[in-house]
């Protein structure tokens, strides 16, 4: 990356300081797997990242301090979400980290593995269980096992376990060994976690104890106890949750907003076991952020919608590119909230309600966004890129974002009462006159219009007759010409491109003549013949023009295409010469 490119980007984003950019930080992650937390309780926030790695095995839990990697732990499976939360009242108040991965939540305290939560197993299909127990007793061979499982798969209410599904994908020769390897173990069916969030237990403080809230592939939401990790509450959804936002307190009142894979957003409340409100989107959600009390959701159709927490749509904004990721910018010390939207065109747009207030151009497409306190700086913006880079920007202390009209609904101007004056006598008379003389007035207007058209047509004909245009109109010699001037001066190269536009008639006996101010320019030859022009071909004709003045002035050179034996030019072109930038040679 070149320095000048960097500078351009800086100038556009004068609201942000470029604190750090590492294009090869080797961080491959999404917004759901990034968190900022004061892990050591030393007043310095660390960056915690669930890194998905680039291969099948490089999954890591990474912690950054300042510009450098502080620690890393290997993860066993791809992380789907990561949150920092306080699980107890112990001093010092350092948060734990929860990493959701497959059906598990790995909880880390002081960056050491502390607890592993496993989702409760799901009900197993009885027929499937029956079939496998027959297989265990060797009553059926793998082929018939396969047939029976296929039968169950096609009509059963309860879906098959992962083991049976894997078995059904096997080639004939691998079946036997697979059955022998697995038949002794009981069948388990498990779902996986799709999203994770936190919910304060019964206090609103920043460092209050929080429950984990998880959404699962089998369309359920669980709220877990912060210490015992037992399931405190379970809510069913009509579809699989993909993005989730949680607010409130578990014991008092809370609200869970989930964007689901069926393209709907559901809003759940404490007192109801079923979704309270539903927002139907016209396309799938790709991100969900809550700003104050409103929900902002980004959709695949390059749109951003704002909704109230009761599910009423407030506004829609159209974006210049598709959304890759979204994040909340919550600058607590300034009481400023906005939505950050990472787009596929390597820009991050900042919206306050529907108003775009800032654009950050980045070196690569942003895949994760996290804003908050990093180190000691409140206004830090952490972003990771598609190519594995890490970008850290810091909001300038003096930065202010233009507050455009942020009130939702019609613009203020619309509700201002206009001071409409009373109808005057003159006005009434005029209306009367217009009503009575409508026909005459229309005729007068039509007449003027025709006159105007006539004048325009006459001017056009005159131009054509005097061949002032670079297109020859004479039917016998249809020609086209354009001119290009090259060079900085005092010598210019003038290239005339002449083309015979007739279908099959070659043009003969043509000549070119130049008219110019001889005090200003000199041309080697100001008159020459041009060869026969074959129809359709482009003939570039070069001449050299010398500018004689060093006073920085320029003039027009006129080019005439003439036919020998005719006094009128076939066509004329006016070339506006550029100012000579070099020193005149005389």
């Amino acid at each position: 990356m070149s320095g000048s490119e960097n500078k351009d980007i800086n100038e556009v984003n004068s609201k942000w300081l470029d604190a750090h950019y590492d294009p090869v930080a080797n961080l491959y992650t999404f917004s759901s797997c990034v968190a900022l937390a004061d892990l050591n309780g030393d007043g310095e926030s660390k960056l915690v990242v669930g890194d998905l790695g680039s291969g099948a095995s490089n999954m890591k839990l990474k912690v950054f301090k300042g510009t450098s990697l502080m620690t890393e732990n290997t993860l066993l499976d791809l992380p789907t979400g990561l949150v920092a939360f306080h699980m107890d009242q112990n001093e010092p108040r350092t948060p734990a980290i929860a990493v959701a991965s497959g059906p598990f939540i790995y909880v880390y305290k002081n960056l050491r593995p502390y607890f592993k939560f496993t989702l409760p197993p799901l009900e197993v299909n009885e027929l499937e269980q029956e079939v496998w127990s027959q297989a265990r007793e060797d009553k059926i061979d793998p082929m018939s096992l396969k047939e029976m499982l296929e039968g169950i798969r096609n009509k059963a209410q309860v879906p098959l376990s992962v083991r049976s599904l894997k078995f059904l994908m096997l080639e004939h020769q691998d079946m036997e060994s697979f059955v022998n390897m697995h038949k002794q173990q009981p069948i388990r069916r498990q779902t996986v976690i799709t999203c994770i969030g936190t919910l304060k237990k019964n206090m609103a403080d920043e460092d209050a104890v929080s429950c984990l809230v998880i959404g699962t592939e089998n369309m359920e939401i669980y709220v877990l106890d912060p210490e015992a990790f037992t399931i405190l509450s379970k809510i069913s959804l009509p579809s699989t949750p993909a993005f989730m936002d949680v607010t409130g307190q578990f014991d008092v009142e809370f609200r869970i907003t989930v964007a689901c894979r069926n393209g709907n957003i559901y809003i759940l409340r404490r007192d109801s076991k079923k979704p309270k409100y539903c927002i139907e989107l016209s396309s799938h959600a790709v991100g969900l952020v809550r700003v104050n009390k409103n929900i902002v959701v980004g959709c695949t159709q390059e749109t951003l919608h704002g909704c109230t927490q009761k599910g009423k749509k407030l506004w829609t904004t159209y974006l210049p590119a598709s959304i890759v990721t979204m994040g909340l910018m919550d600058h607590k010390s300034r009481g400023f909230q906005a939505v950050l939207v990472g787009l596929a065109n390597s820009e991050v747009h900042m919206y306050r309600d529907k108003n775009l207030v800032n654009i950050i151009k980045t070196q690569d497409v942003i895949t994760s966004i996290c804003f908050g306190k990093y180190g000691r700086e409140d206004g830090s913006l952490i972003m990771t890129t598609k190519g594995g880079g890490l970008i850290i920007k810091i909001l300038k202390r003096t930065a202010v974002f233009d507050e455009k009209d942020t009130t939702p609904g019609p613009p203020v101007a619309q509700s201002v009462k206009l001071n409409v004056p009373k109808k005057t006598k003159l006005y009434v008379d005029q209306t009367m006159r217009e009503r009575e003389n409508a026909v005459a007035m229309h005729r007068a207007f039509q007449m003027d219009l025709y006159r105007l058209r006539l004048t325009a047509a006459r001017a056009y004909v005159k131009a054509l007759e005097s061949n002032l245009t670079p297109m020859s109109s004479s039917a016998s010699e249809p020609l086209k010409m354009n001119a290009v001037v090259q060079g900085l001066g005092p010598s210019f190269k003038l290239t005339l491109n002449i083309q015979n536009t007739s279908v099959c008639r070659p043009s003969m006996n043509l000549a070119i003549s130049f008219w110019y101010d001889e005090k200003l320019y000199s041309l080697k030859t100001s008159f020459f013949k041009i060869p026969l022009l074959v129809p359709g071909l482009n003939y570039p004709i070069d001449t050299f023009v010398e500018c004689l003045s060093d006073k920085g002035i320029s003039d027009v050179i006129k080019v005439f295409v003439l036919q020998i034996g005719r006094s009128n030019p076939l066509l004329t072109a006016h070339i506006n010469m550029p100012v000579s930038e070099g020193m005149a040679l005389c």
């Binding site: 300081l17 470029d18 604190a19 750090h20 300042g66 510009t67 450098s68 010390s333 990093y374 180190g375 000691r376 700086e377 409140d378 850290i392 810091i394 300038k396 202390r397 003096t398």
Partner: protein, 198 residues
């Protein structure tokens, strides 16, 4: 020295102390540095983040300094400018380990240098690249590069690496500052003499 004393007294330099502004981001070690410069019996044991600002005094062999130890926290940084007029010299402290916030330090320094109360004055600026004892600290050369100090043309400046906990590097800086103050007093005297000669 009779004349010097008389003139100094007449100019009011002798009685008036040198006013110094101590600026820099929070946690850079400003209070720790000022504390270390005070006589050992006046030093505080516990140093807590400064709220707003505090006024401290210390003496060197020939001058007495009054220091405005400003808080470096973001929300107090807008207080700095109210004291620019009174300051005769600046101590700017940088945490040489805080690589992430070097840009923030630079931004604050640039804002400071462009402030109308500072811009056209030849006031000396002493930089401390503090916390040099820590393992990943940047050298004073690196710090001065990152802050683009070489572009400060119209003010005398000096940078020292320092360890405020042990007090290393502080004396060098203060000696330079003192030299600068005496130099400027002498310059005033020379100007006055020239005035009388003409």
């Amino acid at each position: 020295m009779g004349l010097f004393d008389k003139l100094a007294g007449w100019l009011g330099i002798k009685k008036k102390e040198v006013h110094v502004l101590c600026l820099g981001l929070d946690n850079s070690g400003k209070t720790t540095i000022i504390n270390k410069l005070k006589p050992s019996n006046a030093q505080a044991q516990d140093i807590v983040p400064t709220i707003g600002f505090s006024i401290e005094k210390f003496k060197t062999s020939s001058l007495s300094f009054t220091v405005f130890d400003m808080s470096g926290q973001g929300r107090y940084r807008n207080l700095w400018e109210h004291y620019y007029k009174e300051g005769q010299a600046i101590i700017f402290v940088i945490d040489s380990c805080d690589k992430l916030r070097m840009v923030v330090a630079k931004e604050e320094l640039d804002t400071l240098l462009n402030h109308p109360d500072i811009k056209h004055r030849r006031m000396p600026i002493l930089f401390f690249a503090n916390k040099m004892d820590l393992r990943d600290a940047l050298s004073s050369v690196k710090v001065s590069q990152q802050l683009c100090l070489e572009s400060i043309k119209d003010k005398p400046w000096h940078i020292c690496a320092s360890d405020a906990l042990k007090g290393e590097g502080l004396q060098e800086g203060v000696d330079w500052l003192q030299g600068r103050q005496i130099y400027s007093i002498l310059q005033v005297l020379v100007n006055i003499e020239l005035y009388f000669l003409h």
